[in-house]
Structures are given as C-alpha cells and as structure tokens.
Amino acid sequence: MATVIVITSGKGGVGKTTTCASIGAGLALQGHKTALIDFDVGLRNLDLVMGCERRVVYDLINVIQGEASLQQALIRDKRSDNLFVLPASQTRDKEALTLEGVEQVLSEMQDEFDFIICDSPAGIERGAQLAMYFADAAVIVTNPEVSSVRDSDRIIGLLQARTRAAEEGRKIPEHLLVTRYDPRRVDIGEMLSLEDVQDILAVPLLGLIPESEAVLKASNQGVPVVHDDQSDAGQAYMDAVRRLKGEEVPLRFKEMEKRGFLSRMFGGR
C-alpha cells in the first residue's frame, strides 16, 4: 500500500513544486518507488522542474477520462528508475478533475508504489481540495512571511476538515516545511523567525530549507535540487526526506554561517 502525501501551502510561489520534486527524488534515491502527481490543471509546472516536459504525451485528465492508461501516462525519471511523474493537463478544463476520477487513479497506483506525492495547486479551491482529499500525510510549505503563514494556517484548517480522513474522524500527520529561510534577514528583523512561524502554525517541523541560488538553478535545469548534494538547499531537502521516513536528523541552516577571517577580509558570500 502506498502512502499518499500532499504538498500544499495555500499561497502560490512558496516552493510547493520544488518541494514535491525534491522530496519525490529524495525518496526515490533512498530506494522507494515513488510517483509524483501534478494537480495544477492548466498551470502545470512539475514536468518542467523534473525536466521531463518534452516527454509528456498523456496527462492526469486523460487517465481519468479513460483516454490513456496509467502506464502510458506515467513518465519515468531520467535519473532514477524508481521515480515517475504523472503530469497535469495544460489544455483541459479544470472541471474534468473529479473526486471519483482521482480516487480511481490513486487506487490503481496503490499497489504499484511506496509513495504517491500530490503537488497541490495554490489556493483553497477545488483543485487544492482534491489534491488533499485522499492524503495519508501532508507537507505544508511556508515562507517565513506573514501572508504565507496565514494562508498555510487556513490550509491546515481545511486539512483537518475536508479530507477523507477528517470525514472518517481521523487526523493525518501534518509536517511543516519552511522554505526560502534567510537567517541574515531574520537577524535584522526583515523576516519572521522559525520560532515565530512554528508558534503560529503549531505543526511539527519537517525541515528548514535555506534561501539558495541552487534552487533557481536546479529548477531552470530541470533537475530537483536534492540531487545537488553540494548545495545547502539540496542537503536540507535530503534531511527533510529522512525525517519524513521517521529518522532523527539534527536541524541545520537555521543560524548564520560563521564566516572566517579570510572570507571577511575578501568578501563574497
């Protein structure tokens, strides 16, 4: 039986798709057969971040409407035999995404995979609610910034009310992932601190991803940043993946890097 994990945030542009790609790739690197599903019908991005956009033939809506089989639509990742992407439709109407259709696709994938990661669209509308409805766990992606935190708070409320688990009186595990964290800006009061965010959201922390140039570079190249094990963001995502599996991993990248005498003398970051 696969574990279905929804990556959600409420607000757009906080790093849901980046997180989906890196957590998925990280789980696959650890040997778990993983599928990523893009629920953002009309604004598909996951295929770009995964670098498989030129191999998209069929999509999620095609499968739901019976125009293609799951095997035809799933795209195998170039770097990992364990990783598959089910892209969203760029052209179809959002209404084609139905609860019954999503349930059918997920149940068909249940025995094939260890993890199914659902990349939620931004907002709290139908697409976001469908992405979270069948989840067994949720990763809430938040930037250390007031509006992002408030929207995540709203999404957590929905997770506790509008999922199959909630309707059956169960509560799914919630994980907080704070992205684009910049300790330097926290220090000078330009950014909410990790403590502030945790205080408001009251959800266990899965990881802290530092603001990093490596993320943008990775997205543009279509390689999940978790593959870049030299970068701080890549390492931070791998830490998060290991915590998701239940491992105890110490938190890194929360404090400003201690800069040595030479780097202070010669500048550069």
């Binding site: 408030r150 708070d153 957590i156 409320g157 506790q160 959201l201």
Partner: protein, 232 residues
C-alpha cells in the same frame, strides 16, 4: 423566511381553524385505593359537599399510587355513573397507559419538573482543544468557551459567556453575544484583530501598543471596554 411565498401565507389564512396552545383547568383526582366500590362511596360523599370542583371541570385520575395491576375500566364506569367528565389519567405503568388509550382516555405525562441536570439548555462551558485556524469560526451560544490552543488571525470565536484562550489571541473574540455585559475575555498573549464584550468592540488599531503580546483580560466597566494585563 425567504422560501415562504405569499401563496403559502394566503393558504394559512384560509384554513378554518387555528392551533393554539393553552392551559385548561382540570381536577386531579389522586387515588390511593383501587376498589371501585369504596371510590364510588367516597366520591358520592364528596359530591354532596363540594360539587363544583368535581362536576364542572374535566377530571384526570392520578394513578401512580395504584398497584400496576389495578384495572381502569371499573373506575371509568364509576365516573360515568356519577356524571363526572373523566378526561384521562396521569402516571401509571405502560400497561395502564395502554388500557387508558383503549378506553378512550388521554395519558398525561409525569408533569413533575425534571432535575436541572437533565436540562439541555443549561449553561455549560464548551472546551475546544487545538488551534483555531484562519477561516474557522467557533460559536458557543449557551455558556463559556475555553480554547486550549491559539486563536489565529482570520478566525473568529464567539460565546454568550466568557472566553478563555490558553494561547495567543490573534483573531477575533466576541464574548457576551447574548448581551451579557458581565462576561470577560482572557488570553495568554493579546494580538487580537478585534475584541468585543456584549456588542462593545475594539479593533486592533485601537488597542494600545504597550499591551500587545501580554496576557490580558478584556471586560466592561461602566459600559466602557477595558483591556488590562493579567497577573501581579
């Protein structure tokens, strides 16, 4: 209500009857003996002295003191014989009530007031465990509201009684929604969007900055809203 059209209202007017609740006096006859002969004797004796109470008002037999096996038919016959208007019985076991219905009598319930503990409308506190999230609304219309957690921005908690928040108040809190001006709001850290007691409210920008973040109580003094720090 919106869906009650004019047509349905007109129909109501044309109905040739009106349904109204009322209390009509009846005489309660408490029986402590089931023997129809002795009862007839006693009733006859009574009728000779204080007739109006027994003959003019309908009569209800209180049968709860009779043994469960006591038949009701002979008692009804006694009443008929003496021209008393027997309407129904009160109390009695299930078996007696069934017999009463068969005889065309009304079965009245036990009218003694129930203990207050069984009253659903009793003033009770409602306890919510967990954070109240943005977009959520928590309402308690019959008592205090206790929240073990924070009330986040964009959420709203309302109670007819006091509101106790064992966490930060970042959203809106409205106590005394039924008009009770004696209730208060308590919280561990005040960052409220709005607080209100019995309709008197204060939005966030009218809250003094020096009290922000403190453990506070909000209450009404002479119809003026006060926000005071808690503790020593």
């Amino acid at each position: 209500m919106a869906y009650l059209s004019d047509k349905s209202r007109l129909k109501l007017v044309s109905i040739p009857l009106k349904v109204k609740g009322t209390f009509i006096p009846a005489t309660l006859l408490e029986l402590s003996d089931e023997d129809p002969v002795r009862i007839e004797e006693a009733l006859t004796h009574r009728l000779e002295s204080e007739a109006p109470l027994l003959t003019q008002a309908p009569i209800v037999l209180e049968v709860s003191q009779l043994p469960e096996s006591a038949p009701l038919a002979p008692l009804q016959q006694v009443c008929e014989k003496l021209s008393l208007h027997l309407m129904g019985i009160r109390g009695g076991c299930e078996h007696q009530q069934k017999e009463a219905r068969r005889l065309g009598l009304v079965c009245l319930g036990d009218s003694r007031p129930k203990p207050a503990a069984n009253d659903d409308r009793q003033y009770r506190a409602k306890v919510h465990v967990g954070t109240v999230r943005g977009g959520q609304q928590l309402v308690h219309e019959s008592g205090d509201l206790v929240i073990i957690g924070s009330v986040n921005a964009g959420s709203e908690v309302l109670a007819s009684g006091n509101i106790h928040i064992y966490g930060a108040l970042r959203g809106r809190a409205l106590a005394g929604i039924g008009g009770d001006a004696s209730v208060r709001i308590f919280c561990q850290a005040l960052h409220a969007e709005l607080v209100s007691i019995a309709g008197r409210y204060r939005p966030s920008d009218a809250i003094a900055e020096d009290i922000l973040g403190q453990a506070c109580q909000v209450w009404l003094e002479d119809d003026r809203l006060r926000l005071d720090p808690l503790g020593v």
